[in-house]
Structure formats: structure tokens, C-alpha cells
Assembly symmetry: D2
Homo-oligomer: 115 residues x 4
């Protein structure tokens, strides 16, 4: 079994054991995802871009926790909505390759509709 | 190679080919993550919890794209910050097992510090 | 002076006294806004829509704080970017009146481009 | 009547005319707020802090719209939850003055519990 499927199983079991499926509607999980991304953002908000690349040890540990929290709610949401997260990424990445051809967007941060 | 490592390699190559590493600082990736989570949230904002469990086909397709976008920025952030995302989840899940013992939080949506 | 201008002056002074203007770039303020909206979202994430309309006293107090935090960063951002927030709302509200004519969107949560 | 109360009245009327109060639960408004803050964030995500202080005209116009969208949902949320937004700010600002005494936090971006 893939790492992702295994984690999704563990998260499903974690919720089921606590009778939390009633709370884990896709709508609520989307909100929980927002809360966790907000906490992740706080780590970086006052840092310069350069500082954000050199986190001190305590902030790195904090970041690991927040990345985990975001990922776990995202996996849970994908699971509840029957979305195959790896396949969705492959599809989107292919789409992005077409939206952002190398020769048009090399070194540019513009959106595809501004290129 | 795991699915996740493979995706991270593809995303790193996608950015490198476009000379986008200059934009992909952890700080900027955290912001991009926010933007995508905002788009994901919009799908659900006016739906009832029940409706959110029964997305019509066009919204499901939209959701797949947004989940992919969120995941890809999260993987990129983890990569740029040297965070092992699966290991971070295992650590956090174990911590959550201790914070939320079944007997104390069964059927309750309270935060661990309110239990 | 309007309530809003007065608050913006107090916030500017608060930052200046602490030598925080260096941190209050529009980019950083946008991130701080995200963090606060994340905290506000957490209040509602596991509540039903009905429960969200009847907050118990402690959650109401918490909400007041989070609304204040969001508003203060928004005012600060508007101030740093020379945006007249009331005028911007009047302009947008007029635009929304055109995008969402009553007869087309009565009782519908569809986006203007789906109507 | 204050600018804010007037805007809240106009927004309430806008929703009532469209029979949208059914969608404007505090939970849903918190989600809509997230979506708009995500759009605001996108404006800044690839900019350096310095660039974020010198927005070109088209991005400035875009920012005005997004600030308006965020503010209008925030006002609507405050209205639906009976929160006096100016009073909430005054209370929070006073609290912040105590949490962040000038002599302890001058020139520092640390959180009050790290000072």
C-alpha cells in the first residue's frame, strides 16, 4: 500500500474511534484546512524571504507540525470526497505544463493569462 | 521511490526548467498555499454540510484541481524546507493520539485544552 | 475624523512607537491577515450553520477578538497601500449590484458567471 | 450614522433583496472571508517585500477590490454576530498595548509569549 493510502487509513481510523466522522464533512474539513494553513503562515509572516530559507531549529520543528496538520486535513478531505490525490496532481501538473510553456514563462512570475 | 518523492522531483524540475526557484522561497510558497486553499474553500462556502458530501460532477472536478494545487505547493514547501512530510505526519499523529485519548474526546469536537 | 481614519492613526502610532514599520510591508500584512482569518475560522469549523448563529458567550468573546485582529491588519494594509477602504467598498458594491441583478440571482448562491 | 453602520445597512439590504440571508450564516461568511483573503494574498505572493510597497496601477486597482471584498464579508459577519467592530478594535488595541509594552518589543517581531 502507498504511504498516502496508509496514512489515510490511519486518519480514518483515528476519526472513527473518536466518533468524529460526524464532524468531518468536506465543508468542515475545508475550514479546518484553513485554520492550519493560517498557523503555518504565521511562522513566516514577519520573516524576510531570505530568513524563511534558514529557519532556526525551533521554528523548523514548528513548521514540521504545521505541514503535518495541513497535510492530514487535506488527505482526510480527499478521502471523504473520493479524490485520488496523486492522480489529481499528475493531471494538474500536465495541465500546468501546457499553461506554462518554458519558452513563454522562463524567469517570469506572471500568471498564464498575463503572459 | 515513493509517490511523494517522485512528485517532489517532478515539481522541482518543473520549477527549475522555468527558472522559478527564485520565486519559490518558503515565505512565498506559504502565501501561494493560502491562495489555493482560498480557492478550495470557495467551492464549499455556500453549501450545507450535507451538500458538501454530494458534490455534483463539475464541482468534484474543480475540487480535484484545487486539492492538487494545495498539495503541490505543500510538497514544494516541504521540499524547500527539508521536511519529510510522511515522517512529520507520523510524529504528529502519535502526538494527537496522546492529546485526544478516545475516552476523553469520544463524540466531542472540543479542543484538547477544553476537554 | 471618521472612526476608520482614527483607528488607522492609532494603529500607525502603535507600530511606529515599537519600530515595527519595517515589518509592516504590504506583503507581510497580507500574511498576518491570513493568520488571523485562520484563527477566526477555527471558531466555526466544527459548528453546524445553526450553531454558528448562536455562539455561547465565551466563543462570542473570542470572535470579537478575532474580528478585531482581522480588521486591524486590513486597516493597516489599506493604510500602507493608500487604499481608501470605504470608497473601495462603495465602488465594489456598485459593481456587485450590476453583476448580481436581483431578478437573476434571487435565492441563488451561484457565481455571476454561472447565472 | 457612522460609515461602518451605513455600509452594514447597505450590505444587509443587498443580501435581503436577493434572498441571500439563508446563505449568510456566520459559518458561511467565515468561509467566504477566507476565499477573499486568498485572492488578496495572490496579489502579493511572488512579489518581494519591496515590490509589495510599489504596486503598479493595475495591481493597485485589483487590491482595492480585494480589500473591499474582505471588508464587506467581515462587516457582514460582525453584523450577523452582533459584534460592534470599532468597539472590538478599541478593546483589542488596549489589550495589545499591555501585551506589547514598547520597552520590551521595540524593533522586535517576536510574539508576546517569546519576548
Amino acid at each position: 500500500m502507498s504511504d498516502i493510502k496508509l496514512l489515510q487509513q490511519q486518519l480514518a481510523q483515528f476519526a472513527a474511534e473518536r466518533n468524529w466522522d460526524q464532524f468531518h464533512t468536506p465543508k468542515n474539513l475545508a475550514m479546518a484546512l484553513n485554520g492550519e494553513v493560517g498557523e503555518l503562515t504565521e511562522i513566516f509572516q514577519w520573516l524576510t524571504p531570505e530568513q524563511s530559507e534558514q529557519l532556526p531549529h525551533n521554528k523548523k520543528t514548528h513548521l514540521e507540525e504545521e505541514i503535518a496538520d495541513v497535510f492530514m486535513y487535506l488527505l482526510r478531505l480527499a478521502d471523504r470526497c473520493d479524490v485520488d490525490i496523486i492522480k489529481a496532481c499528475e493531471t494538474k501538473l500536465e495541465k500546468n505544463r501546457n499553461k506554462y510553456p518554458v519558452e513563454k514563462c522562463y524567469g517570469s512570475a506572471k500568471k498564464y493569462n498575463e503572459l
